[in-house]
C-alpha cells in the first residue's frame, strides 16, 4: 500500500533563516506531487505541483521554492523565511494521469518568529 511521509512534524524558525521540508511517497511510481499551505483557520492554498522529476509548477509567487530530485521525493525550500510563511504545510500525491483522489501527508507545522 502507498504511504506518504513528511518531516519534520513541527518546526520553529527565526525570521531570515532557511527552510527545507521534505515529503516522500512509498508504494507508487511517478506520482503527481503537491505542496499546500494552510494558514490558521484558513483553507488550503496550492503552492507547487509536480508531474515528474525536475518538473515544478508554481501556483503563487512567493518566498518559497520546490524541487523534485527523485521520483518520490518533493522538497519545499526557502532561503530566508518571513513571518508570513508560518502555517501548516501539507504534501499530497495522486496517481499520474488520474484526476481522482488525492492523498495527503500528516503535515508540518511551521512557526516563524
Amino acid at each position: 500500500s502507498q504511504t506518504i511521509h513528511q518531516w519534520p512534524a513541527t518546526l520553529v524558525q527565526p525570521v531570515g533563516s532557511p527552510l527545507s521540508l521534505e515529503c516522500t511517497v512509498e508504494g507508487t511510481s511517478n506520482p503527481n506531487l503537491y505542496w499546500y499551505r494552510q494558514a490558521a483557520g484558513r483553507g488550503l492554498q496550492l503552492l507547487f505541483y509536480s508531474v515528474g522529476i525536475g518538473q515544478i509548477s508554481s501556483e503563487v509567487p512567493q518566498n518559497l521554492s520546490a524541487s523534485r530530485p527523485q521520483d518520490r521525493q518533493f522538497i519545499l525550500s526557502s532561503k530566508k523565511l518571513l513571518l508570513s510563511d508560518s502555517g501548516f504545510y501539507l504534501c499530497a500525491w495522486r496517481l499520474a494521469g488520474s484526476q481522482e483522489t488525492q492523498y495527503f501527508g500528516p503535515g508540518t507545522r511551521l512557526l516563524v518568529l
Partner: protein
Amino acid sequence: SQKIEQNSEALNIQEGKTATLTCNYTNYSPAYLQWYRQDPGRGPVFLLLIRENEKEKRKERLKVTFDTTLKQSLFHITASQPADSATYLCAPSEGAAGNKLTFGGGTRVLVKP
C-alpha cells in the same frame, strides 16, 4: 477568476440530525467534484467523488449531489454523530484540463450530543 465558495461559518447541529453543507463554484466546468474531511492538525482525507453525469452519490451516512446548472454541490451527513465533527472541504476539478486540485475554504461542522 475561478472561485469555490463554502460557508465559512461553523455549522452547529444536534446529534441525530442531518447536516447539509453547500459548495458553490464559479468559472469552473468541473468534470467531477470531490469532498474531503479534515480534522484539526491533520491532512484532509478523501470521502466522496461525484462526476458531472451523476446527480447523487451515497456512502454510508454521506450523500452528495451535484447540479452543474446551479454550479453547486450539496453534502449531507445523515444521523450525525459527534465523531462527524470536522471541517469538510470541496474540490471541483475540470479533469483533463489540469493536474492540480483546488479546494474551497471548508465548512466546520460541530455535532453536539
